[in-house]
Symmetry: none
Subunit: 158 residues, 2 copies
């Protein structure tokens, strides 16, 4: 079995045990699995990406960590589906349609919808290169949706 899969397995187990939120040490894991630290990043990037329903947060420096959060199961398959269906580029019109739909079906509150639209509006993204904007929009959109879906997770020591 590939080491990548072993690591992925380990992470999944940790997530399971910790009820959807796991705080891991990259260097520890690397030591444990006798692999290079960056392989942990590889596993996370390929198996625990936002598209697959995970949020990742990390801190460097002494006492650093990588925190993975799994989208809670009770959250609509719908949003997850939408998430999967957003490619890595999306135009303003599609965004509006999707957001309106999500709002109509109660996945998003009015405020959330507004904030998302504001964040990825042409105006807000203006400093960016014009042909980059759609990609940016897709990325921000996905991250925000995910964050909202994950919301009922208390936490944050800050």
């Amino acid at each position: 079995m590939k080491i990548t899969d072993l690591i992925a397995c380990f992470i999944r187990e940790a997530l399971e045990k910790m009820d959807g939120v796991a705080e891991l040490s990259r260097s520890e894991m690397a030591k444990q699995f006798h692999c290079s630290p960056s392989q942990i990043n590889y596993v996370i990037a390929t198996r625990f990406s936002p598209e697959r329903g995970y949020l990742v947060e990390s801190r460097r420096g002494g006492g650093g960590y990588i925190r993975l959060m799994q989208v809670s199961n009770d959250c609509d398959a719908m949003a997850t589906h939408v998430l999967g269906s957003i490619g890595n580029s999306i135009d303003p019109l599609s965004v509006r349609a999707i957001v309106a739909n999500l709002e109509a079906t109660g996945v998003l509150t009015m405020e959330q919808a507004r904030m998302i639209e504001t964040a990825i509006s042409e105006a807000a993204l203006r400093p960016s290169d014009s042909n980059e904007r759609d990609a940016l929009r897709a990325s921000i959109f996905k991250h925000m949706l995910l964050q909202i879906i994950c919301l009922p997770k208390e936490g944050k020591t800050e």
Copy 2:
């Protein structure tokens, strides 16, 4: 848990207990936490900066002290001020500090704070060119803040 966070915690508790004003002894704390005195300065500089809404005063010599004060700010004036103070480029750390402060002072709800942070996180902005990100961040940040402030907020007048 990091010692830095322990110290920050201690200070926050002191502030809470003393109703927003705490007078501490650097050397005492250093002894208590088994750390170098300058680490206390580090914690104060990184966690209790004026940006985050704290005032710091100190005296040297015999009977010296460090006095921290939590300052409360008027919501809208503050948001407006913050808005003005954001140039057309801002780094992630400053964002975090500002948002945390706005949240602490009740200008932003927790959800709003989270959404903003998500929208302009490094991860979300990743598709963009690295030296463009700060500018983008500033733009999105301002747009979102503005949207929130301009929102007809019924019943939040206090």
